[in-house]
């Protein structure tokens, strides 16, 4: 342990209040670790604890780790500062009613309400129970959960492929196909040259450092000439999958595919959308397939909803894209292109997505050519901006997908500059 003792110890009552605050934050899904608690306590010695602003920022620096946790912090801090009760459940004791550090709060005697002893009281906090990083709506109760799973999965399952099968489980052959996919992605996914080079007998670059280093052992005589070659690293794979109503029959396998890909490729990213975009990378990142998929299902609010591809891609572009998620990545969009939104928006967003990505691949399960789809007007508009358009690929054919990813190659796709319709401004 590397916990240093604070030079000065904060007042007992303050300490108790701080611990209560941390506990409340944990209750609401913030990872207020003991480290963070300790940091906060040390901070309290340095600042003016009567100053609301200073307290607010010190606490935020210690307990909050990402912008999406801030609303929770704001809400709880406000209650804390006003001296209102923080913890919600009645009589719940899993978080240390028995916590020895809580003792002090009973003999607080502080003038400030937030340092009184009320943090111990357990009263329901009004408003919804919010979650920070884990903003995944979980199933309500233990017993209700399994029933609900049946419900969700039943709605999902596709008669054609699942007839006579147990709906809840992935079949052995499916799991095998997924493992093969993971393997294939690891082995064959497109690579990029990294800035680093490594010693290589077959390399073409003369390795001065390596040669000199070698010659140190032979009294400075260079007996061996070293060569180096650039190292290869896998490119980021970024999946953006349509799980709207028209894609329903594929979504079950698609989700498992995403899980396999996220597990296999370093820094792979998974997004799904129907009317809005949901990032699943973190949700799917776990060992247990079933568990990860359950969580993912719960995390997507609009399974089998209508499709607004343009808006969903726009969401991606303005939030994640802007931060560089798609830079240098192979972006794979899996969608049938049936868009209920404005085709102009779809066109603009696909163009923007292409400009950010190394290669934009669109996998469309519909076999016919785009012209035959009356609804896919947007798709037609977007087509010029897609590097590889793969029609008629059934995402349920996982092996085919693996093959496809492996075959993409590392070359930069040739792109024509398409004059934009939006260029009249």
């Amino acid at each position: 342990m590397r916990l240093r003792e604070p030079q000065r110890t904060p007042d007992q009552a303050i300490m108790a209040a701080a611990v209560g605050l941390a506990r409340a934050l944990r209750e609401f899904g913030l990872s207020a670790s003991v480290d963070a608690e300790h940091t906060f306590l040390r901070a309290l010695v340095e600042i003016d604890v009567r100053d609301r602003t200073q307290m607010y920022w010190a606490g935020q620096a210690a307990f909050v780790h990402s912008p999406n946790q801030m609303p929770i912090w704001d809400a709880i801090f406000e209650r804390f500062w006003d001296g209102r009760p923080l913890i919600l459940q009645e009589g719940g004791s899993q978080h240390g009613e028995s916590d020895a550090r809580m003792q002090g709060s009973h003999h607080g005697g502080e003038a400030l309400p937030q340092f009184g002893g009320e943090a111990n009281e357990k009263v329901a906090l009004d408003g919804d129970r919010q979650r920070g990083d884990q903003d995944i709506p979980t199933a309500e109760g233990e017993d209700g959960a399994s029933n609900q799973e049946h419900g969700i999965l039943a709605a999902w399952s596709d008669q054609e492929i699942l007839s006579g099968r147990e709906n809840l489980q992935y079949e052995e052959d499916e799991l095998l196909a997924l493992r093969l996919l993971a393997h294939e992605i690891k082995r064959n996914a497109p690579a990029r040259r990294s800035r680093r080079s490594r010693p290589s007998a077959g390399g073409h670059r003369f390795d001065v450092r390596g040669t000199v280093r070698e010659s140190l052992g032979t009294d400075g005589e260079a007996f061996h000439l070293g060569f180096s070659a650039p190292t290869l690293r896998p490119r980021r794979l970024l999946f953006i999958c349509d799980v709207s109503g028209s894609m329903e029959r594929y979504s079950r396998v698609l989700l498992a595919t995403l899980k396999a890909a996220v597990g296999a490729a370093r820094r792979a990213e998974a997004f799904v959308f129907a009317t809005r975009l949901t990032r699943l990378t973190k949700t799917l990142d776990g060992r247990d397939l079933e568990q990860a998929l359950d969580k993912a299902r719960a995390a997507v609010p609009d399974w089998s909803g209508g499709t607004r591809i343009g808006h969903a891609l726009g969401d991606f572009n303005t939030t994640y894209g802007r931060r560089g998620f798609a830079r240098g990545a192979i972006v794979l969009v899996v969608s049938d292109g049936w868009d209920r939104g404005d085709p102009k928006i779809l066109e603009a967003e696909v163009r923007r997505l292409q400009l950010q990505s190394r290669r934009l691949v669109w996998i469309n399960p519909r076999p016919m050519s785009v012209d035959q789809q009356p609804l896919a007007i947007g798709m037609r508009a977007a087509l010029p901006y897609i590097d590889d358009f793969v029609p008629g690929h059934d995402p349920r054919a996982v092996a085919g997908l693996a093959h496809l990813i492996g075959g993409l190659g590392s070359d930069r796709p040739v792109r024509k500059i398409v004059p934009t319709a939006a260029g009249q401004g």
């Binding site: 590397r2 901070a43 340095e46 600042i47 920022w57 620096a61 780790h65 140190l216 260029g423």
Partner: protein, 295 residues
């Protein structure tokens, strides 16, 4: 160790370096200095994350050591490497010295930071580095010591002030965040942005600064693909000044907008909109700002 006794004292010192911070950032930076914890700052591009480290180094009169992260960065770029050519020369010269000693060590930023007491270490865009590097950094940040097999353990006599920035292209490890203080820097509000513009560009007229900043503040509400940062605001103010304009006019706005917005779609959108109305709005806000100040 820079001895700032109060938040205000530190804030003043940074203001002298023309870095204006709000109360939140000031509190957190002060705590980072006092608790000797690394500070992880995140925020939109152009809100002054990197500038913070530079200003801090200048204000404390210590060297700024910068480690720019990128994919594939490893120990030899971040920590140390051996100076093989010098070793070779030494060997050729025939003098018998220990070849693997501190004398032949190339200090990369991290090693540099722990051997120079009280320096400011900026680890820029950590999210670009790989996971492994982050894990390595974790070790470094908790002990501020480095083990070099041939030399031994080198430990910081005085840990550096560490500022880590990230653009959130991926989530950093929870373990790393736990070791740091965290702060999200927002775009400055109108008053602060004007103050920054005035501090950085003292030769520019007050009215122009007010007007430009008001205009930019409006733009940030528009959900552009890339919102302009403070740096771009400053460039734009400077552009007007250079062209000899003391206030906004729609033609110059249109022709210089590329200083501010770097995305074609954004440019088209703003140029295609009603520029005169937007300028009128920013003039109005600029006037309000002055009234508020002089009341």
């Amino acid at each position: 160790m820079p001895g700032f006794n109060s938040i205000q004292e530190m804030r003043n010192a940074l203001t002298n370096q023309r870095y204006l911070m709000d109360e939140g950032l000031a509190t957190v930076v002060f705590l980072a200095l006092r608790l000797r914890k690394p500070l992880l700052v995140e925020g939109e591009p152009g809100v002054g994350k990197t500038e913070l480290a530079k200003a801090l180094a200048a204000a404390t009169g210590t060297p700024l050591i910068r480690l720019q992260c990128y994919e594939g960065i490893d120990v030899h770029q971040a920590l140390y490497d051996w100076d093989y050519p010098r070793q070779l020369l030494q060997l050729r010269a025939g003098t018998s010295t220990q070849l693997y000693s501190e004398e032949f060590l190339l200090r990369r930023p991290l090693l540099e930071a722990i051997t120079r007491p009280g320096s400011v270490l900026l680890i820029d865009e950590l999210d670009r580095a790989d996971d492994e590097f982050e894990a390595f950094l974790l070790e470094f940040l908790s002990d501020f010591q480095v083990t070099i097999p041939e030399v031994g353990v080198i430990k910081a006599t005085e840990p550096p002030i560490v500022i880590i920035t990230s653009n959130r292209t991926r989530d950093l490890h929870e373990a790393l965040k736990r070791r740091c203080l965290y702060h999200w820097i927002d775009h400055p509000d109108l008053q602060r942005e004007v103050a920054i513009a005035r501090a950085r560009l003292p030769h520019v007229g007050q009215y122009l600064a007010d007007q430009v900043c008001a205009f930019v503040q409006d733009l940030r509400w528009l959900d552009l693909f890339r919102s302009p940062g403070v740096g771009e605001t400053l460039d734009w103010v400077q552009a007007f000044h250079t062209l000899g304009h003391n206030e906004l006019d729609s033609q110059t706005v249109s022709s210089t907008l590329g200083t501010l917005l770097k995305e074609r779609d954004d440019l088209e959108r703003i140029r295609g909109g009603d520029l005169d109305a937007a300028i009128a709005r920013s003039s109005q806000r600029a006037a309000q700002l002055r009234q508020g100040n002089y009341q």
